[in-house]
């Protein structure tokens, strides 16, 4: 009896310590997240005026949203463009990362070197340098293509033309190649995450499967892919949140973010409009994330069962 009481006392005391450990986070969440989130929702329905003594808000209801959706000719196309970009880019990043992670998980000499190299782009792409490089290379490229890529497959294109392949096909091929290359630059963290997941699959699983006569191809579909689904979900989320971390300008990087920033902090300080723009963007991102959860989460559960 006394022992039981002791135990529940201990439990309660531990609970209190737990709260103590996360108390700073709770405070930070309230001050730097919850409050700004609600305030920005409030801002999005107001018109804001900055003055030396503070800022004044005028209630405008849904006017900002109406303006953005109905009268502003630029923002909605920007959003749909971003959505389409996300629709092909995210799967491409995730599939390419898984492929490379599977290769890098095999034992061979020089593996350590390649693993280090594949994380290298994280240092470059998470910063301004990347957009800068894209801009420069685009300006310098003789082809003058619409999209800026870090790596131009001009050599390949020239070789294909020399081989007598029609120009339109060469263009299509080099477009795809360039795109894969530019996607590759965004895979650093994802490859690492997949790798750390693959390490956790015990060798005995593969050995058992080999005894049943399965080859490497079967193993990928039967073992590696199903067991990587949770990490795949994590990587989809990471890839999406990574895209709005990136530095953007009107022509490169995350253009929606650049537009929001320009509206709120450009010449006119339209805070209210910028807030409503970012709420619409967040809504869109949330829907994408929910869709990813629905599809991959269900697949993962099915595999478990």
């Amino acid at each position: 009896m006394a022992n039981k009481q002791d135990k529940s006392l201990l439990k309660r005391r531990k609970a209190r310590w737990g709260w103590l450990f996360i108390a700073p986070w709770v405070l930070g969440f309230a001050m730097f997240f919850a409050f700004p989130v609600f305030e920005s929702l409030h801002f999005s329905m107001n018109s804001l005026k900055m003055s030396p003594t503070g800022f004044a808000t005028t209630w405008v209801g849904l006017d900002n949203y109406a303006f953005m959706l109905l009268r502003d000719a630029k923002f909605v196309p920007l959003l749909t463009g971003e959505l389409i970009e996300m629709a092909y880019r995210v799967p491409l990043v995730v599939i390419l990362s898984l492929f490379i992670a599977v290769l890098l998980n095999q034992p061979f000499r020089g593996r350590g070197f390649f693993r280090s190299v594949f994380f290298l782009p994280v240092i470059i792409t998470s910063g301004v340098v990347y957009v800068l490089l894209q801009g420069i290379i685009n300006a310098n490229s003789l082809a003058g293509t619409q999209n800026a890529y870090i790596f131009q497959s001009q050599g390949l294109a020239e070789a294909l033309v020399a081989a007598g392949i029609p120009g339109s096909i060469v263009n299509a091929v080099s477009e795809v190649v360039n795109r894969v290359f530019s996607v590759l630059m965004e895979c650093g963290v994802q490859i690492l995450l997949f790798l750390s997941g693959l390490q956790k699959i015990p060798d005995s699983t593969y050995e058992a499967s080999a005894i049943e006569g399965a080859n490497a191809w079967d193993n990928f579909w039967r073992i590696t892919l199903p067991l990587s689904l949770p990490i795949m979900l994590l990587n989809v989320i990471y890839t999406i949140i990574d895209s709005f971390m990136a530095y953007g300008t009107e022509n490169a990087g995350n253009r929606v973010m650049a537009a929001i920033h320009q509206t709120g902090f450009g010449s006119q300080f339209q805070f209210g409009l910028a807030a409503s723009m970012s709420w619409l963007y967040m809504l869109m991102i949330t829907l994408v994330l929910l869709a990813a959860f629905a599809v991959l989460g269900r697949a993962a559960r099915k595999m478990e069962a």
Partner: protein
Amino acid sequence: MSVRTRKKHSRKARLRHAAAAAFRLGRLLLLSALAFVLIYPLLYMLSNAFKPFMQTYDPAVIWLPKSLTMENINDAITILDFGNAAKNTLMTAVVTSFIQVTSCMLVGYGFARFNFRGRNLAFMLVVLTMIVPQQTISTSLYTTYRYFDPLGLMSLLHRVSGGACADHINLIDKPWLFWLPAMLGMGLRSGIYIFVYRQFFLSMPRELEEAAEIDGTNPVGTFFHVMLPNAGTVVLTVLLFALVWNWNDYYTPAMFMKNHHTLATALASFQSNLQNLSTIGGNYTDSALIATRMQAAGLMVIAPLLVLYAFTQRFFVQSVERTGLTGF
């Protein structure tokens, strides 16, 4: 008969051997090609940063310049205002990274090791902070920092002191706007670090702490004496990520640091600053010149990170695998 089957076997084995060798060669070629693509921007930067810009027009010069020059680097240092920008980056990005590594560790430990009501809800909110773009709340964060009044305390002081004390603090342009959220687990990508630490501490055996608890050490003491000495790998992993992301972060300083350039914001305005120079004289309009100067500037900005990574990469890649960041 036995001879014939052995021959057959050995032929089959040789075939399989050849296929395996072909696969290994193909893998090596593919990985080398991809690795080249990843190193390409670095080579491009290096090649341009030390190249006299006129050689851009020389068809004989592709990668290796005929001569080297420090002109680009020197100009880049001047236009970036490198000394000041580096100092500001140190004060904001680097200090903030160390704060984040510590605060997120304690929070992550709290989530991993204690049962308390509301824990799961709170952890879901941690995930929420990860997926909401900074920009959504940045407009109101601006006013939060500009008229900083933590939990109404400043207003209270203002009223109590009869106006002697200001009713807000202006945090704009001060490093505190990086440090304060970082201390409270709300810095740049702090959610990810809390997540990583939580997974790590969940994977540690409980027996470690139980022995200390029986001795009557309190949880904070247990944490510092028992857990921390075992957490070296994850701490360094998080530190490296935090350093890279904070160093490269353009958004926060551009938004809230109006008069203090960091390396990232200085680099972003580099081209326009370079072009402004041409209005006061000097030939700064040549596109090859702009390109080589910009590559030099880019190299200067990420060089410290590259050096850091060069020294830590071996350890880093191993530790990510061992700590199992994902915990699935």
